[in-house]
């Protein structure tokens, strides 16, 4: 898994590549916690290059959503891969995360 973070005017974009599972969820959570600890609570997660996500990854998404929501922010998904969509759907958590067709559209909602 690789994580790239870019800061925009009102939002931070987190681009994740590869596999988000029990072996990488800790690193994923650390990256997101670092952002929220810095007060960056508007997050776009570009998940177009995620080829597998397990419940360990979903837990990070749900925990981050709770953190940013309680701070008045928002987390959305940009161009989630079919694998991300399917895991969210199977777990019944798809309703929690707004999904946008691309990164620019997602950024534009903030």
């Amino acid at each position: 898994m690789e994580i790239q973070i870019s800061d925009h005017k009102r939002v931070s974009v987190v681009a994740i590549t590869g596999r988000v599972d029990g072996s990488t969820a800790g690193e994923f959570e650390s990256a997101l916690t670092t952002l929220t600890d810095e007060g960056k609570n508007n997050l776009v997660l570009d998940m177009s290059e995620v080829d597998f996500v397990s419940s360990a990854g979903l837990r990070v998404l749900v925990n981050t959503r709770k953190a940013v929501n309680s701070a008045g922010g928002k987390i959305v998904l940009a161009e989630p891969s079919q694998q991300v969509i399917e895991t969210l759907d199977i777990a019944g958590l798809d309703v929690l995360f707004e999904q946008f067709k691309d990164r620019e559209t997602a950024i534009g909602t903030f």
């Binding site: 029990g22 597998f52 397990s54 895991t87």
Partner: protein, 151 residues
């Protein structure tokens, strides 16, 4: 990694109870599901379900990563994929720990997601304690239209 090449024999794979080993079994299951005629969506779902089962064994059975072993056997029978997992952890029947409680968007669940995914994906999950080992069988059948003998 090289492990799968070394000890995979006839759809059997033994891994250590470490998270970075889980993907090798997931890849095996996905490959066998593809050969068995499952569509790509179900191939991924099967891969996901077995990875959830393995991560549960590591997290809850072995109480974290270790060198304890997990044995996987994956078979494609006509119209179905059967996954069997053996581990040496204390007894753990997933059925006794699965739940599907009501939740709302303000308080979504973070626990039990792996079991929920396993039961959503698989058609049948059976657990047996055999001696000092846990034996989990997970079964998914091809949809009827795929197994229609008219093909």
């Amino acid at each position: 990694m090289a492990l799968s090449k070394h000890i995979m024999t006839d759809h059997r794979l033994t891994i250590e109870g470490r998270f970075d080993q889980v993907a090798s079994v997931g890849d095996l299951v996905e490959s066998i599901a593809r050969d068995a005629g499952f569509e790509s969506r179900d191939q991924y779902a099967l891969q996901l379900a077995v990875c959830e089962a393995l991560e549960n064994i590591i997290t809850h059975g072995y109480q974290g990563e270790s060198t304890n072993l997990i044995e996987a056997q994956v078979n494609a029978n006509p119209g179905e994929v059967r996954i069997e997992l053996w581990d040496d952890a204390p007894p753990f029947n997933p059925k006794n720990n699965s739940n599907d409680i009501e939740w709302n968007e303000d308080d979504p669940p973070v626990g039990g997601l792996g079991l929920k995914i396993m039961y959503k994906v698989m058609d049948e999950i059976r657990y047996k304690r055999v001696g000092d080992r846990n034996f989990l069988t997970m079964l998914k059948r091809l949809p009827p239209e795929v197994t229609d003998p008219g093909e």
